[in-house]
Symmetry: C2
Amino acid sequence: MTQQYSRRNLDFMLKEVLQIAELTKYPFFQDYTPDMFDMVLDTSEEIAEKILRNAYSDADRNQPQLVNGQVKVHPAVKDYIKAMGDAGMIGATFSYENGGQQLPTMVEAATEMIRGAANNAFVMFTGLTAGSANLIFTFGSAELKEKFASRMITGEWTGSMCLTEPQAGSSLSDVITTAKPQSDGTFKIKGQKVFISAGDHDIADNIIHLVLARIEGAPLGTKGISLFVVPKFREENGSFTVDNDVISTGIYHKMGQKATPAMHLTFGDKDNTIGYLVGEANKGLNYMFQLMNEARLGVGMGGTYIASAAYYASLEYAKERPQGRKLKNKNLEEEQTYIINHPDVKRMLLFQKAVVEGSLGLLLECYHWQDMIHALGKTSEESKPYQLMLDLMTTVAKTYPAEMGIKAVNEGLQVFGGYGYTEDFPLEQMARDVRIMSIYEGTTGIHSLNLLGRGITMNNGKAPQLLFNEITQTIQQANTYDDLKPYAEKLEKELGRLQKVTMYLLSNAAKGDNEVFLADANLYMEFFGIVSVAWVWLKQGIVAKKALITQNHEGSELAFYESKIHTMKFFYHYELIKTLTLATRLTDPTLLTVDSEKQQVFQ
Amino acid sequence: MTQQYSRRNLDFMLKEVLQIAELTKYPFFQDYTPDMFDMVLDTSEEIAEKILRNAYSDADRNQPQLVNGQVKVHPAVKDYIKAMGDAGMIGATFSYENGGQQLPTMVEAATEMIRGAANNAFVMFTGLTAGSANLIFTFGSAELKEKFASRMITGEWTGSMCLTEPQAGSSLSDVITTAKPQSDGTFKIKGQKVFISAGDHDIADNIIHLVLARIEGAPLGTKGISLFVVPKFREENGSFTVDNDVISTGIYHKMGQKATPAMHLTFGDKDNTIGYLVGEANKGLNYMFQLMNEARLGVGMGGTYIASAAYYASLEYAKERPQGRKLKNKNLEEEQTYIINHPDVKRMLLFQKAVVEGSLGLLLECYHWQDMIHALGKTSEESKPYQLMLDLMTTVAKTYPAEMGIKAVNEGLQVFGGYGYTEDFPLEQMARDVRIMSIYEGTTGIHSLNLLGRGITMNNGKAPQLLFNEITQTIQQANTYDDLKPYAEKLEKELGRLQKVTMYLLSNAAKGDNEVFLADANLYMEFFGIVSVAWVWLKQGIVAKKALITQNHEGSELAFYESKIHTMKFFYHYELIKTLTLATRLTDPTLLTVDSEKQQVFQ
């Protein structure tokens, strides 16, 4: 069976690089011992093997259909959600109080890597359900928690996030769905929501929509948005059987990730949709950010785990496919060599590996910060640096894995040649599936504006300062190993270059022209992502180096650590150097996208 | 109706940049006046409007099926081929002697741009038919020409090229299909061919396969390959009705370009497939190179015209889709602005435009060289420089538009946000369609080996020397305009950098290690492509600048020329600078893909 992820690498990341054993010293995680995490991963492997893998291509070829107002999804989705609910995996990272198991989010991410590599579309259902439930647990009333959230984490019901409207995609300021207060404290909801993933299906008795809407008379813009729980079926006499007038108006047929229905939903067409306010009025978008940020890291994971599955599939193919002869040996009497022996194929494979393990490293840093916040307490002073870094890097850890995941899967397909373009191999589906990642939860363009326009500058630049300190510490550590010193020096140089470019851009901002300042934010994001991933690669390199020095490894363990260092080097020699071009453009004063308001540039 | 290509730009390229009127001074083209070319383009526009566009998405959603050994394709394919045959367009570039119209290949390429932008999959049928017929006309006997080729250019029959076998994709040395001589001078053919585009269908009475096979006892490798005409139905008593034992064993279901069936064909399963030798035995691959090279430029065109259709679709969307507000104006009381007003969207649009018009420019240079060879005579001394440049650049003009076309369509999809991922807009299909271009007719990896390993070095580097002279002339011309001088200087610097990198790599070759020499050939190709396209952009810039200086243009004409110069600048400021990173890697002696034969690098 084709490998889809590296369990050894997950262990390396959790135990060796991020030292998860340290986490268990904090009271919040004290009930865990590291071997318990192994069991959690084992459970995910079982679910992936028994349910997710088998349905991957079948669910793509038999996509959900909207029939008589009801969406029917692939039957294996139900098996998956049941298995996840039974295993207590849906809300596993939640506090005991909220029905969770206080599992580190790092471990949850590792399980997602395993499940998502097998079937990225199905994982959406549980991810959205957990995120929606968590939103209710964090900001909702006791009643909402008990009635809705507690039934979501068991897998009995699922959840969805309803933000986007036809006229308000990237611009949430322009949400116009309305909420009309009723005398009983509930609200009547009316409006259209589009692209609602898992917004309808036939595998659970109820769907709990988390809906952004405006209460009548609320201020314009994001300050007038409130958050509502809107079930598909509402309660009457203790049972949730009353049709809540949430209509499945349409289903989008998509390029990929077909097994997750993306819905156009209409609320209140018959003026009969009841919603329940979460928390305070007009604070809805602030609340929603919790779910959005979780979902953003989830999208980064999506880029990573699809790229992981593509990497191992193309690696297997490269090892088994004979084609051509080595350039040193053109003897036609000899049999053809395997394509893995061609340097260009090795380059494509190493690129994929560098992207997958680099992206995972970056994401796990974020999850580690999240765990430190859980460990130290969200309101404590000690957790603030982690919160700042997490806020800054969520946007990068969403975007780099998404953009580079798309490129990596593309290279995986290329390894297969013509076969990669056919349905005989999974690569064409993976390429279609992964393409959404740079669009989901804010496009790359939006996140880039976010990073440069907000992340870098907020709190007087405290967040990037904290991150750069972390990077500098890694550089100092690496400098103590002769082999790693050249890479530490490279990273130091690039970090300096990034800081210089940042200063240059901020000097533009100081001139007051935000459009000029942010014109190439997308390229700044690319630069920032590359340097960040170079950092996590150096961290991995240090741990691998230490392991090789301190122990006498053999066989697969020796190969694992050597491969780590080799791939780290590959990243530095092939990827990190992209900063040269990016820095050149970012400090080039010639404006070509801002200067002309004239649309006739486009002929 | 959404624009899919720019007729104005085709006119600009043919008439102003490549001065097609000059061609008509040569006897071969003397029957043409420039306005006749306009009529040819008009005819293509009509075919595109009436047949191709309408069937584009329908033929994707109703892909060919293999039923009882016979492939059924979309019925509009038949209309298309009939229209092309009736208009005399299939073999239009052939000599009068071969039933053609001696149309310049530049003009044929322009018509292909029009047709392909409307429906890239259908265009494959006529392209392959023309190429196969041309192969017979060039190398076949009078009998083969009359019996087969003459019926192909009318559209009565179609053609296919049968090279690839399950064990021989990129490695044609390993073709094992056999040809057994019969007493009547024909051959019995036996073997498997895979990925045969348009290899079976139900829209013509016969399909003429051009098949590579080995005559018993032939030498190993490419020197033992012969070329055969193998019809689906062979002749008996003057009519072609005898089943020639060519079996449609399977049809590949593909990610995109679904309307063109890719076939697995079995020849001689019942030992009853008759083939007719083309030209001399064992020279088949040499012959086939004519068709392969034509097809390679066709694939480059494929990347270009799909990217063109994607560019105009995303441009239209960007002009009509309101979302967000300008960064200078966050007044929520005002209506949202169109996304074309966001700098990052302009960047994505300019990128697409720069790729489309740059790729087209590069391809038309190649077609112009082809036309000069036709004009001067293939065997004349004067045509040799054109032949050398054409041989060198075919591989680049295939690869740059393929690779960059994929990226450009990807950006087009991104402009649409979530809508781009749905079947409601054509971008998702275009993204699937264009993905094959870096694989068709030799993968990017193969072409890169070809460029660096053969193109650069053959004839003591005569070909790159000729090309570099052309580039230098363009630089000198550009230097005479103040506005263009900075760009001339940039190109001069980059040409110098390319030459330096080339020398560095050749010094590796001189050390005798071909694997080291060619390890990063792929990146060399990217470098070479960027500099080549910078050259054709500067040429276009010069012509636009001249037009602006010499005439007092207004309105759309003024906008057209200004847009040309703006897009040229964009290419230089955003794309040409990628050479910095590429040169760094290409001159970095650290080997990471060659050094280890060990496969355990990949964990």
